[in-house]
C-alpha cells in the first residue's frame, strides 16, 4: 500500500539575525493511512518546524533547502500555490497549540467555518455548508450549537476553542491531521477530553494524525509510532511499544528516566547534564555527544549514521547501546524506594509549622465611578474558600489542582503576600493573620516563596549577584558578597560565572534556580514552590526536582509544592491536598491517595495523568474521562462544587455542601460518598 506521507532527506533552514541556521537535518519518515505518528522532543529540537515544513507554511524567514515531502505520491515542495491551497484544509489539515490566537478575533465562528468550507466546496450553497458546520460543531462536543456558532472566539473557554479548531480542521475530512502541541496549554482533565475526542474522531473518520508534543505521556497514550528529535535530527524512530519499553538511543533512555512517575517511587530522577545546544553553535559530530553517558572519542568527531534495527526501528548513533566497549559507563540504576519520608523525622503531634483554619481569601471586584452610578454591585471571587490545613515541620505537602482552584492564592495567603479575608493563619502556633506589615517582616526571613514565572520574579535590570544580595541589603544584614554569592549559587547547582549575568540571559531552568537561591538566602524554614517545573523541559525539570529533594535533606526544609502535575507530587510530596474551586476536597498521604482516591475529582485527575509507561496505559484500559469544564470561580455551582461533573453525584450533592469525612487519622475527603469512588461503571 502506498504511503500516505513520505518525507525524504528533509532539510530546513532559517535566516536569522545570527546568520543562516539549520533547523532540520536529514529528516525522513513515512506514515500510512489511519496511522498515528508522534513527534516528541524538547524545546528547540525542531518538532514544530516539521509541521510547518509538511504544510509548506514555514515562517517568512524559513525555507526547505533540500528534500521531498511526498503526500499521496505528490511532492509538496514542488507543488504550486494553488495546488497547495486546495490540499490544505481539505486533505491535509493542522491544529495549533494556542487556539485563542489561531482564531480570527473579529469574525464569528460561523463565518470562519463557512469560509473554510466554501473554499473547498465552491458549488455548495451557504445553507448546505451551514448544516455541515453545525454537525461538526456538535460532534466536537459544544452544546447549544445553533446559538453558539454565531459567537466570537473570545466568548469561548480555552477548551472549547481547541474543540472549535479541531472541528475546523476536520470538517472537510482530511486524510492527514497535523496536531502541533494542541493540549499543551490546557488543564489535565481538559487535555484528557481533547485526546479522547481526537481518538474518537480518528476511529470514526480514519484520519491519520501526526502528533507533535513534548509530553511523553500523551504520546504514549495516543501514538502507534514515535519519532524522537534532538537538535534538528531524528535520533530514534520506531513503534511505540518498542521505543518506550526498549529505547536504544541514549537520549531517549535519558528522557524516559528523567520523567517522574506517580507510581514508581524514585529517589532521584535522571537529569541530563548540560543544555540543548543552540542552533547557532552546533558541535561537530554527534549533537548529543557532550551530554551522553556513552560517548566515545569518535562521537565528537563525526556525525553518526542511522543504524537500522528490527521492524522499522532506527537509531542515530555510533554504537548500539548494549554493545559498548568495556569501560563505558552505564546509566545509573534507578533506586526505587517506598515513598515514606525516608530519613526525615516528622512529628505529627507537634505544633504545626503552618496552620490554616477556615482560611478565606475573597477578591472583590473594583467598580469604577460610572459603574457605581449605574448601580453595579461589586462581585467577589472566592479564590480560597474555607481551607483547613496543617503543615508539620519537615513535611512536604503537595497542593494539586487545575486553573481556578485557588492553589497559588492559598500559597500566597499563607505567606501573607496577599491578605486573607477570613479565617486564621498560625505560624508555629502564633497567629499572624492580622499582623501589620511591620510585624510580619521579621517572619518573612523564615518563610519564602519561589514564584511560578522565574523571569517575572527577577528584576531585569540587576545582575544575578545583585539579585541574590537583595535580601541582605534590604534587611540591612552585613554579608560578604564574594563568599555569599558563590555559596548560594553552589547550593542550587549553578556555576560561579552565572553571577555576572542578567536574568534574561539565563535559561528557564537557571532562572528558576536563581529564584530558589534568593529564597534560601535568609535561611528560611518554610518554602512555597509555585509550579516549580512548569514550562521546563523534562530533563531540566528533573534537575530542579532533584535539587528540591537534596536541599530538603540538607537544610531540613518544609515545603508546600503547588503544581498541576501529579507526577511531581508522586516524586516529592509526603501528603497531597487536592483543590477544586477554592476548596480542599481531599487531603492525605500521597501513596494512599494515589492507590485509593476518595474523592471523585481526585479520581478524575488520576485518570487524566499521562505517563510514558505503557504498562500503566494498558492497565487503565478504557479511561473514564470526566466530562464538562471547570466552572468560573465567580459562579460556583450550588451544593458540592464538583457535582455537575461527578459521575457519582445525586440530588443531595446539588443541594448541600458536603463537609469533611474522615477516612483515617491522616486522610480526609469532602464528599458525601467517598466510598463510591472507584466503583466499576
Amino acid at each position: 500500500m502506498a504511503d500516505l506521507l513520505e518525507v525524504k532527506n528533509l532539510e530546513v533552514k532559517y535566516r536569522t539575525r545570527n546568520g543562516v541556521l539549520t533547523a532540520l537535518r536529514n529528516i525522513g519518515f513515512s506514515m500510512q493511512e489511519g496511522e498515528v505518528l508522534g513527534v516528541v522532543g524538547e524545546s528547540g529540537c525542531g518538532k514544530s518546524t516539521i509541521a510547518g515544513a509538511v504544510m509548506q507554511l514555514l515562517p517568512l524567514n524559513g525555507w526547505i533547502s533540500q528534500g521531498q515531502v511526498l503526500f499521496k505520491g505528490h511532492d509538496l515542495v514542488q507543488a504550486g500555490p494553488e495546488e497547495l491551497r486546495r490540499l490544505r484544509g481539505c486533505e491535509l489539515s493542522m491544529v495549533f497549540q494556542d487556539a485563542m490566537t489561531s482564531l480570527n478575533p473579529v469574525f464569528n465562528i460561523e463565518t470562519q467555518m463557512l469560509d473554510i468550507l466554501q473554499a473547498h466546496n465552491p458549488t455548495k450553497s451557504r445553507n448546505e455548508l451551514r448544516k455541515i458546520a453545525l454537525a461538526m460543531f456538535e460532534r466536537v462536543g459544544i452544546p447549544d450549537g445553533v446559538q453558539r456558532i454565531k459567537d466570537f472566539p473570545h466568548q469561548f473557554s480555552g477548551g472549547m476553542r481547541q474543540r472549535i479548531m479541531i472541528a475546523m480542521a476536520l470538517m472537510a475530512n482530511p486524510s492527514l491531521l497535523i496536531a502541533d502541541e494542541p493540549t499543551s496549554s490546557l488543564d489535565v482533565t481538559l487535555e484528557a477530553q481533547i485526546l479522547e475526542l481526537l481518538r474518537g474522531l480518528r476511529d470514526e473518520l480514519g484520519t491519520a494524525i501526526l502528533y507533535i508534543s513534548h509530553d511523553l505521556g500523551v504520546i504514549a497514550q495516543l501514538c502507534d509510532h514515535v519519532i524522537v528529535m534532538y537538535a534538528g535530527n531524528i535520533v530514534e524512530r520506531g513503534d511505540s511499544r518498542t521505543l518506550f519499553e526498549h529505547p536504544r538511543h541514549p537520549y531517549t533512555r535519558a528522557l524516559l528516566a528523567a520523567h517522574p512517575s506517580h507510581k514508581r517511587h524514585l529517589n532521584r530522577l535522571l537529569s541530563i547534564p548540560g543544555r540543548v545546544p543552540s542552533l547557532k553553535d552546533l558541535p561537530v559530530g554527534c549533537k548529543f555527544a557532550d551530554r551522553c553517558n556513552f560517548a566515545q572519542p569518535e562521537c565528537y568527531q563525526a556525525e553518526p549514521n542511522y543504524i537500522p534495527l528490527e521492524e522499522d526501528h532506527l537509531v542515530l548513533c555510533h554504537h548500539l547501546v548494549g554493545e559498548i566497549p568495556p569501560g563505558g559507563a552505564e546509566l545509573p540504576a534507578q533506586e526505587v524506594i517506598p515513598l515514606v519520608s525516608g530519613g526525615r523525622v516528622i512529628d505529627q503531634n507537634a505544633v504545626p509549622l503552618i496552620k490554616a483554619q477556615d482560611l478565606q481569601t475573597y477578591f472583590k471586584d473594583r467598580v469604577g465611578i460610572i459603574g457605581q452610578l449605574l448601580g453595579r454591585k461589586a462581585g467577589s471571587l472566592p479564590a480560597v474558600n474555607g481551607i483547613d490545613l496543617d503543615i508539620q515541620r519537615g513535611e512536604t505537602i503537595g497542593l494539586v489542582g487545575e486553573s481556578g482552584s485557588g492553589k497559588t492564592t492559598l500559597g500566597k495567603t499563607l505567606l501573607r503576600l496577599i491578605n486573607s479575608t477570613g479565617g486564621r493563619i498560625l505560624f508555629e502556633g502564633q497567629e499572624i493573620t492580622h499582623l501589620n506589615e511591620r510585624n510580619v517582616r521579621p517572619m518573612r526571613a523564615r518563610m519564602q516563596m519561589i514564584f511560578q514565572d522565574p523571569f517575572s520574579s527577577l528584576s531585569p535590570r540587576m545582575k544575578v549577584a545583585d539579585l541574590l544580595l537583595e535580601p541582605f541589603r534590604i534587611q540591612k544584614i552585613p554579608v560578604d558578597p564574594h563568599s555569599k554569592v558563590p555559596e548560594l549559587l553552589e547550593m542550587v547547582g549553578l556555576a560561579g560565572e552565572q553571577a555576572d549575568k542578567y536574568a534574561h540571559q539565563l535559561s528557564g531552568g537557571q532562572a528558576r534556580r536563581v529564584g530558589f537561591a534568593r529564597a534560601l538566602a535568609l535561611n528560611p524554614e518554610f518554602l512555597v514552590a509555585d509550579e516549580p517545573t512548569s514550562g521546563l523541559d523534562v530533563s531540566v525539570a528533573a534537575g530542579v526536582l532533584n535539587l528540591l529533594k537534596d536541599l530538603r535533606e540538607k537544610l531540613g526544609l518544609t515545603y508546600l509544592i503547588i503544581t498541576h502535575n501529579l507526577n511531581v507530587i508522586g516524586f516529592i510530596a509526603d501528603r497531597v491536598g487536592v483543590m477544586y474551586l477554592g476548596r480542599l476536597v481531599e487531603l492525605g498521604p500521597t501513596e494512599e491517595i494515589f492507590d485509593h482516591p476518595s474523592h471523585p475529582y481526585t479520581e478524575a485527575l488520576l485518570m487524566a495523568i499521562s505517563n510514558p509507561d505503557l504498562q500503566q496505559v494498558a492497565e487503565r484500559g478504557k479511561r473514564l474521562v470526566v466530562k464538562g469544564e471547570i466552572p468560573s470561580p465567580r459562579h460556583p455551582p450550588s451544593g458540592c462544587p464538583f457535582h455537575p461533573r461527578c459521575r457519582y453525584a445525586d440530588a443531595r450533592c446539588a443541594r448541600e455542601v458536603p463537609v469533611a469525612v474522615v477516612i483515617n487519622a491522616t486522610h480526609r475527603s469532602v464528599c458525601f460518598y467517598p466510598e463510591r469512588v472507584g466503583e466499576a461503571v
Binding site: G89, P105, V106, F152, G368
Partner: protein, 317 residues
Amino acid sequence: MYIYLLKRLGMTMIVILIVMIFLGLLVQIIPGDPVRTLLGPRATPELVATVRSEMDMDKPVYVQVALFIWNALHGNLGNDFWTGRPIRQAIGDVLGHTIILALSSLGLAVILGVPLGVYSATHPNSWLDHILAVTSISFITIPSYVAALLLMLLFSVHFRILPAIGLGKAGDVADYLRHLILPSVSLAITWVGYLARLVRTSLLEVLNTNYIRAAKSFGLRDRIVFYKYALKNALIPTVTVLGVGLGSMMAGAMFVEVIFDRPGMGTLIYNAINDRNYPTVRAGVLVIAVLFILANLIADFINSWLDPRIQLVKSQG
C-alpha cells in the same frame, strides 16, 4: 455593548464639563482689568461699570462660570462685544467651511495614504517600499503651515495656476473646489505619511499573526485571507487614529485658513484674539473642543463596532 457605551458617554460628559469650567475660568486670569483693556481709550468709569455688568463680570466667579455653562448648554454663546451680534451666528456662518476643509483633507489623506500603506505592506522591502518609507517620514515632518506656504509659493506665486486667497466666487461650486485644493492638500500631507506608515505597520503585524497562518493552513484563498481576514484587523487601529486626525485637522485648519484667507473657525478665533474679543475666542474654542471630543467618541464607537472584543470586556464575568 451598552455598558461600554454608557461608560464612554459618561466620561465624555465629565470631560466636556471640565472643559467648560476651564474656559469659564479662563477669562478670570486676564492680566489687568479685562473690561478696561477691551474698551481701550474709551474707558470711562461709567462705561466700564455698565459693560462689566452687561458681561456679568461683576458677579462672583462661580456664578459667572455657572452662567457661562448654563448658557452654553442652551446654545447661547454670548454676544459679540463690538457688534452685539450673537456669537452663535458668527460661528454658524463659518463653521461649515472649516468642517468641509477638515473633511476633505481627511478624505484626501485616507484616499492616498491607505492604499500606499497597503501596497508597502504587500511588497515589503521592495524599492518602492523604501521610497515610500522615506517620503512618508518626510511628509510627517512638514508642519501644515509650512506645507501651505510652500504649496502657495509653488502653485500660486511661481506657476500661478491655483488661487491663494479666499473661498472662490459665491455659488460657483467648481471655483469653490478650486480654492479648496491647496488648503486641503496642505493639511493632508502630514497625514498621508502618517497613515501610510500606520497602515503598513498594522498590516505587517497582522499578517504575521497565528490566525492568519491558521487561515492559510485551512486553505483559504489568498485574496480572502488578505482583504477579509487581515485587513479588517489592521484597520482597527487606523480608524481610532482617524478620529484623532479629524480633530487635529480642525486645529491645523486654523493655520491654513489664516494663510489662505478663508473664512472659518480659524480666522474667526484669530481675528477675535487680535481684537481682544474674549467672548468670541472662548466660544470658538469651546465649539472646536466639543467637535474634537465628539470626533474621538465616534471613532471609539466605530472601533467597538468593528472589534467584538471590546464590548464584552466590560460585561463578561
